[in-house]
């Protein structure tokens, strides 16, 4: 009580000095609060962003690894190779594309493989898959296309956004028709879809809900059934229906893309309308009509199997160089669904244990895109962390120096107090308490200021981070004339949806989706524009909606941390005072007869 009273009296008596200390503490506390709030928000965004979202993942092939393996194998056998053909005859140094494709093709996983991996892990919530094949137009059923579109574009974006489909789709489709996009395997440029329509078979409603062209709504009729394999039911897009004047109940006839003699007849049971156009950018001169979402015909896997165009079936394809190759009739895109990120991570481990070859990787576009959207926030968080440490270090040094001067100045007081019989520990406690009172006042004010400004400050910092990110992307654009290659096996035209804490994996890209705004650390995403609009000649683009707004509200955790920091800083600097007091001998005051 004596100590407390004395400390309080001393604090009120030395206003000037204590106000100075308070101001310093206020600055430190405000900066530290902002830093902590940003960090907390970033952590929360990372943790909760995918919390209630089911995660989908695919197994993809690390194609560069495979290709280099295939190349090695070929080179060793090049002298006796029978696969060298006219396509590579012009130059010996030219890659042997067919062998390459062959190598890729043989390694592609089959439906059974995918299902085995699904069974190997208990964390898989569900699975679904789509198979995509292409069909050619007939006289009475034509694809939607404008005059600039070329049906036989050499290189186009795949209609599928799934990354795992790249490997197999490029193989099969490249062989069918059209030029091969050189050795551009990594970026998805090599994906070629031919034909006029893409016929997509879905395994379940879940697959349908996650249609490669984005979500859609039924305009007329209803979706097909998955079990009834004999009725050849399809649903077509509204554009296609309007273009061909088709209504529900009509039948359409389509040709096999590889074999003009074979035709298929389907019954249109529904007409859908894409609520979003995910695969945009396919209107350039290089895109094909089949990659136009309007030309996607949806059906069940059962139907595909029935007409013999499923991924298990093979077709004889003739390349433009005259070779005939057997390839899978359809591109398989198998998707695993997980309840949360942990299950996904478990699955990655499980399939590895189940013997997934090294050249296959499990990837989740949900997680990747979400993490991409967090790049600016993460940058900001690491910046905030650095700031926090610097502020704390500088603050600690300043506080210690101030305390040291303070104590030296009050040496006489210490001597008097100890001489009149106040215990040193009490004197030390008094000095500590004084410092604590002052720093706590500063801390409260500083935290208050920090809390008030942390939201606008962190948002403006974040937006500058986002624009920096975009600038680097557009620099890339200017340098390369196209978007930056996405690492890994991102699909050609992958439109990265903004993923925020509440949006599902199939959230539309164009809409700015507001997350659960009531949440503590909700992250809003705005449609931060892609670096290049839709008619990029390359035909693919990257739309990443960066998390550009963060709820850096100061919550109890931050306040608690601030309290800890404040007490910690105070105690560290008070330690100086304590040491000083403890070393002081009251006798010195008598010896010091001034």
């Amino acid at each position: 009580m004596f100590v407390l009273k004395n400390a309080w009296k001393s604090v009120t008596r030395n206003k000037g000095r204590n106000i100075l200390i308070s101001i310093i503490v206020i600055i430190i506390a405000a900066a530290a609060t902002i830093g902590l709030a940003i960090q907390q928000a970033a952590i929360k965004a990372r943790d909760t962003g995918l919390e209630n979202t089911t995660i989908t993942a695919q197994i993809g092939i690390d194609r560069s690894q495979m290709l280099s393996a295939a190349k090695d194998a070929m080179q060793s056998a090049s002298s006796t190779s029978s696969s060298s053909d006219s396509s590579s005859s012009s130059s010996d140094s030219k890659p042997d594309f067919d062998s390459m494709r062959d190598a890729l093709n043989t390694d592609a996983l089959t439906l059974t493989d995918y299902q085995e991996y699904a069974d190997s892990s208990s964390s898989v919530k569900s699975t679904y898959y789509t198979e995509t094949t292409s069909l050619a137009e007939t006289d009475d059923f034509q694809p939607v296309e404008d005059s600039t579109s070329s049906a036989f574009s050499s290189s186009s974006s795949s209609s599928s956004s799934s990354s795992s489909s790249d490997s197999s789709s490029s193989d099969s489709s490249a062989d069918m028709k059209g030029g091969m996009g050189g050795g551009d395997m990594g970026g998805g440029m090599g994906m070629t879809t031919s034909g006029d329509f893409s016929l997509v078979g879905f395994s379940s409603d879940e697959a349908l809900a996650n249609a490669p062209n984005g979500t859609f709504t039924m305009v007329e009729g209803q979706a097909f059934d998955y079990t009834a394999s004999d009725d050849n039911d399809v649903i077509i897009s509204q554009e296609l229906a309007d273009f061909n004047n088709i209504s529900v109940g009509d039948t359409i006839t389509l040709e096999n893309a590889n074999d003009s003699g074979t035709t298929y007849t389907f019954t249109v049971v529904g007409i859908y309308k894409n609520s979003s156009t995910t695969s945009t950018g396919s209107f350039g001169p290089m895109s094909s009509t089949s990659s136009d979402p309007a030309n996607a015909i949806y059906t069940s896997v059962a139907t595909l199997q029935k007409i013999g165009l499923s991924s298990d079936d093979t077709v004889e394809a003739t390349t433009n160089s005259g070779d005939t190759m057997k390839t899978a009739a359809a591109t398989l895109s198998f998707t695993y669904v997980f309840a949360d990120e942990d299950a996904y991570n478990q699955f990655v481990k499980d399939v590895e244990a189940a013997g997934l070859p090294d050249n296959y990787t499990v990837s989740s576009t949900d997680i990747e895109t979400y993490e991409n959207s967090l790049i600016p926030l993460n940058n900001l968080a690491s910046f905030a962390k650095t700031l926090l440490w610097i502020v704390l270090a500088v603050g600690a040094v300043i506080l210690i120096v101030l305390t040291l001067f303070n104590i030296r100045e009050r040496k006489y007081e210490i001597g008097v107090l100890t001489a009149i019989g106040v215990r040193k520990s009490k004197v030390a406690a008094q000095f500590t308490l004084e410092l604590l009172i002052v720093t706590m006042i500063g801390l409260v004010i500083g935290t208050g200021i920090g809390a008030a400004v942390s939201q606008p400050v962190s948002n403006s910092l974040l937006s500058s981070q986002v624009s920096a990110q975009e600038t680097s992307a557009s620099n890339q654009q200017a340098q390369f004339g196209r978007d930056m290659m996405q690492p890994g096996d991102m699909g050609g035209s992958s439109s990265t949806d903004s993923t925020d804490s509440s949006s599902s994996s199939s959230s539309d890209s164009s809409a700015s989706t507001d997350a659960n705004s009531s949440g503590q650390s909700s992250t809003d995403t705005t449609n931060s524009a892609p670096s290049q609009p839709t008619n990029t000649p390359g035909g693919f683009q990257q739309v990443t909606n960066y998390v550009s707004s963060v709820n850096a509200t100061v919550n109890l955790t931050v306040v608690g941390l601030m309290l800890l920091i404040g007490i910690g800083l105070t105690l560290v600097s008070a330690l100086v005072a304590v040491i000083f007091v403890m070393r002081y001998e009251p006798l010195q005051i008598l010896a010091d007869r001034s």
């Binding site: 009273k5 009296k9 107090l417 001489a419 009149i420 019989g421 215990r423 009251p586 007869r593």
Partner: protein
């Protein structure tokens, strides 16, 4: 003396006066060296201090007066020998408690806190002692100010604004605030004019004779020494030694043991200190 009536009024509870001549503090063959094994500043001093008397410790500079004061006031412990307060070895007592309860020290440089007011300085000591007071502290402060002949309006004056003599009075008032049995003063009249000096000595005499305290004054001043009951000569110097009939202790260690005890009987002690003893504020304890 008029102030005393005031004090008595405000300290209603009276206690029987303590028996005169109580050996409150004893030095037993005390020696002190600042460094271990170094030169001894004080060597083998034995002396008894009683309540109800004013002692003057004299001696030239460097004779160890201040050191002795430090030992008595518990600021340091002797290298050899013992300081016994009220039957207890000071080295074994908590010297902080001793300083804050049992002994009032008036330092030569007063050692008041300049930033505080007179009242705050006094109250600081009262609070430091951790004792309970029956009267409000403010009232006690006023009584003390009256006792040291300071006007009441000085209570809220900062120490900085006070003269040396006034500061001296405040220092005395502070030393008295927790009602210690022993008052130690280091050169209390050092730089004071004669009138003030006389007044201060008077106050000390009152403290000893009327309130039955043991007042120990370290001084150079012959006037102070004269006014005190017992003079304790520290150095083997001049004629002052025989005058006090062996009260002096030879620093060289040649002094006869127990000489201090002998001095007590014949010292020029006031005739009947106990008879005139004021009731004091011992009740506050």
């Amino acid at each position: 003396m008029s102030e005393h009536e005031n004090i008595n009024d405000l300290a209603p509870i009276e206690q029987p006066p303590t028996a005169a001549g109580l050996d409150i503090l004893k030095l037993e063959k005390v020696s002190y060296a600042y460094t271990k094994g170094g030169k001894k500043v004080i060597k083998d001093i034995s002396y008894d201090f009683e309540t109800g008397k004013v002692y003057a410790i004299t001696g030239p500079s460097g004779a160890g007066k201040t050191t002795l004061l430090s030992l008595i006031s518990g600021l340091t412990t002797p290298t050899e020998g013992r300081v016994i307060y009220d039957g207890h070895d000071l080295a074994k007592l908590n010297r902080y408690d001793y300083r804050s309860h049992d002994i009032g020290v008036i330092f030569q440089s007063f050692n008041l806190l300049p930033g505080l007011t007179v009242a705050e300085n006094i109250e600081l000591s009262m609070n430091a002692s951790g004792m309970k007071y029956e009267a409000p502290k403010r009232e006690i402060v006023m009584d003390l100010l009256a006792e040291v002949h300071l006007p009441e309006e000085y209570a809220n004056e900062r120490i900085l604004h006070l003269s040396g003599g006034e500061q001296q009075r405040v220092a005395i008032a502070r030393a008295l605030s927790y009602d210690p049995k022993i008052i130690v003063a280091d050169e209390p009249t050092g730089n004071l004019d004669l009138t003030t000096q006389d007044d201060i000595i008077h106050i000390f005499q009152e403290l000893a004779h009327e309130q039955d305290r043991c007042v120990i004054i370290v001084t150079h001043s012959p006037a102070v020494a004269k006014a005190s009951d017992v003079v304790f000569e520290l150095a083997p110097l001049r004629h002052s030694v025989p005058k006090r009939q062996g009260a002096g202790v030879r620093r060289a260690g040649k002094a006869a043991p127990k000489s201090a005890t002998a001095g007590r009987a014949s010292a020029r002690v006031d005739a009947a200190p106990a008879a005139r003893k004021a009731p004091g504020r011992t009740a506050r304890q």
